[in-house]
């Protein structure tokens, strides 16, 4: 026999390094062919930040994402953008790229304004073209414009960007601090099915709403949420690294169980995209905040389904079944109670 239930959990998170000065720096060059070189210590760990930064740079520089060349992350060749973690990549480096590109574009528009004899503010660049507003003739490709500035004027358009997020350390006595400038919030609902005979839990659906700031690439934001939720399913139901007297008893994937395609719920996410007012781009982050509500939502759903409160992760079939049997011992008449004691 199986029973279903639902649970909810909220969450919140701070963006970028905790209670410490966070920083990211970028160099920008408008390069031959109307391409753009971006040098920064960007640290792609799979979240898609390379693509996100190329979208931001393309937007700011009036080109396409595949026109951007991002320098490899190398302490001897690119400026510091600090580490990959703390849900800081889009927020810290994204803002730094925007600031650096805006500096470059300020110079570019001034130089093109001089060339065309117009106010730099009337110049626009988008989708590989630069033009003067309301002018049918003053228009050229970004490739031509770059070539012209280099060959005729000797101008190489470069910019640099620095984004700092100032945070204060914790007061050691009472914790008073400004650990972050920007916060995000979220909430998830999980629906589970619990097998009363085996204690096995299946997560059938997870719904997630997250405040992520302005979105650069919704596909990648969804990807983070889906990945975080499935990691949360693993943490909630099956993952536990165990040791006995310091010796690891789960030394590989045969003993340390991870979610596979057959364990995953259907996932539905909704993004709240109100821009962060504190930064130039309005972006925030999602890498970590998406994982915090999943496990408690599942644990609460298990309780809702069968009245078993799991207080120790993961909720393995053994723990859930023990809870179910204990409940039956309390409720059932005496004869059956003994039967269950024996069965256990």
């Amino acid at each position: 026999m199986k029973k279903r239930g639902r649970g909810v959990a909220c969450g919140w998170y701070g963006i970028a390094r905790t209670a410490a000065m966070d920083r990211a720096a970028v160099w920008v060059e408008l390069d031959d062919g109307g391409t753009v070189k971006i040098a920064t210590g960007v640290t792609e760990i799979g979240e898609g930040i390379l693509t996100g930064l190329c979208q931001i740079a393309a937007h700011e520089m009036g080109v396409r994402p595949d026109d951007i060349v991002l320098a490899d992350n190398d302490t001897a060749r690119v400026p510091e953008a600090a580490h990959a973690g703390a849900t800081r990549m889009t927020y810290m480096i994204g803002n730094a790229v925007a600031i650096g590109c805006r500096e470059a574009m300020f110079k570019f528009k001034k130089a093109m304004g001089d060339y065309w004899g117009v106010d730099p503010n009337s110049i626009h660049a988008e989708n590989r073209e630069v033009w003067v507003e309301n002018s049918p003739t003053m228009k050229m490709s970004m490739a031509e414009a770059t070539h012209h500035l280099k060959k005729d004027k000797g101008i190489v358009i470069v910019g640099s960007g620095l984004f700092t997020s100032a945070h204060t350390p914790l007061n050691p006595d009472n914790g008073e601090a400004t650990p972050w400038q920007s916060y995000v919030f979220g909430a998830q609902i999980a629906e589970v099915e619990v097998d009363l005979d085996t204690g096995e839990v299946q997560v059938l659906g997870v719904w997630a709403a997250h405040d992520v700031g302005k979105v650069v690439n919704p596909q990648q934001v969804e990807g983070q949420i889906e990945g975080g939720i499935v990691m949360g399913v693993g943490h909630a139901l099956m993952e536990e690294y165990t040791q006995h007297q310091g010796q690891v008893t789960t030394p590989g994937f045969a003993k340390y169980i991870l979610p596979t395609t057959l364990d995953i719920p259907n996932i539905h996410s909704v993004l709240l995209t109100e821009p962060d007012p504190k930064t130039p781009l309005g972006v925030k982050g999602i890498g970590e905040p998406c994982i915090t509500p999943t496990a408690p939502a599942i644990i609460n759903a298990i309780y809702d389904a069968v009245g078993v409160r799991i207080t120790s992760l993961p909720a393995t079939p053994e723990k859930v079944l023990a809870g179910i049997l204990k409940q039956k011992r309390v409720i059932k008449p005496k004869v059956e109670q003994e039967e269950f004691v024996t069965a256990e």
């Binding site: 008073e176 302005k214 919704p218 040791q243």
Partner: protein, 637 residues
Amino acid sequence: MSKLHSSMSDKKIGEHPLVEITATVNGRMVSRSVPNHYRLIDFVREELHLTGNKEGCGAGECGTCSMFVDGVLVKSCLMPVQKIMNATVETVDDLDRDAGRTVLQQAFHKCGSSQCGYCIPGMVMAATSLLRKMPNPDREQIKEGLGGNICRCTGYQKIIDAVELARDVINKKIPDSSLEENLLEPVMGARTPRLDAPGKVTGSVKYAADMVLPNMLHMSVLRSPHAYAKIVSIDASAALVIPGVEVVLTSADVPGIDNFGVFIEDQPIMARDYVRYTGEAVAAVAAETLDLAIAATKLIKVEYEVLDGVFDPHLAIKDGAPQLHDFAKNNITKHTKIRKGDVEEGFKQADLIVEETYQTAKIEHAYLEPEAGLAYVESDGCVTVHSPSQNITHHRHALAKILGRPINKVRMIMSTVGGGFGGKEDMIYQGMLALAAIKSRRPVRYVFTREESFIASAKRHPFSIQYKMGLKKNGKIVATKMVMISDGGAYAMSTPGVMNKSAILGPGPYQLENVWVDAIGVYTNNTPSGAMRAFGAFQSEFATEAHLDLCAEKLKMDPIQLRMMNLMRDGATTHTRQKIDRVLAVDCLNAVVDLAGWDQGAPNRHGSGKESRKDIGQSGIRQSCTLGTHLKQGEKV
């Protein structure tokens, strides 16, 4: 490469008889002599340098090494090389037969199916196999077809989406143009397909373990079998005399100040005087072949004086427990305190006080790419390390000090990262690589086995959380007290930061007047705990959200109503007394209720004899797995 060796009694140490293998690989005939213990994955990657398919576990569990042998999908880490004699092998490297990416690979690109990309070659092979056998699978059949492949990044959704897209394009249900990028969207906010995806779906992107340099040495590391012991002596003489063994390293070879750590510099690059956890590096060998390095490692004699360790953080903080580090009294790595308002006064005002203890598990990051690195010294004397490090800036600082070099003579390059989740923030092997490259004046590569990654890298901190919450009858929280003790393991790594974040965020996004939080990180002789996705907040927020459900039940309240009553609003003051202008907590909760639907009521209403909830079992959920799923209607088991 396998660490399992055949008997070595009648031949030179670290050498294996060769076996000649002839096979057709990616349409071309090859004939090579390779060591007889090679597996198919070794033959393809080490001998043919076809590095598209990756090794993830070496035990047939993860599927990243999946390839075709005579058209059948196999896990190449389980197949002895002799089995491919005269067979036809297909790897991901040339799946498209030079014709551009296959429809499936294009679909993976379009759908955003690759994140770190390390599992993707195996996923592409498994999905290709599925579509060859079953041209029109439904979503559940696709899931089964990919059930032998682990992905830690994506949550699988977009991988399954890609297989559905490819299926429909191949079956001409939708046009080929469905695979193309939509160029009409404004760049910001567009679903721009990942620019790094083509290299990931074809396997052409190079991770550290895929990199090769001329004259490169291979590293193997001797690790402690004891959780806590004094190192009496290390005798490497038997290893050093073997021809082809170029370097043997111990802590005695470290020239500079030998300690590293993100927050507390307490860890030597190889154990110094003491080993404090099982798996801690004790010595390293760099040799001409990996076989030789492994064999030489086994000849290093270490004399240990085994000590009584401490494995439970609750015991480690007691007087009289073994003291793991001189500077940490009672083994306390970090104690973070949050004090706001008057929590005892809050409890006095409460109508209901609810107490419970919560525990979270120690968690493995389980990125599919085991740690790996390649180091060499450049002509200007700069030592350079390629590795999937999440923090090259910090690693350069640490390494310059350890090596006693100017900081601009140390260069850290981040190779493509096959998943990190915080587990690649600690510099647990780059020091050995750099030192071996300096000593040998040759490039040196080190690739962890999955077992090494499990025992040597940091884990998510397990927490024990004593919770006490005071509430009014209407659900208003008037006092929150959390006392959290966490096992930080043998070295600090990110423990101080994790304690901070767990404490700051632990009481949740609720407007609370009276808060008391203690987060205490403790040294033990377990595997070190370090950074992992959500960095302490996963653990502490779990306790709060589970506890609120318990409170809702006791108050006979709907758990969403209880949260709505207490959630922070615009202008809220946080537990660290920071005022935040804009708070979207209520908006998120409303949005998820709109999305999922929610039938109001206290938890477990049917258990308490009330009518069951009405929002379950609706569209939007997957089918549950049941016995007889594959039986046709009416068919008997």
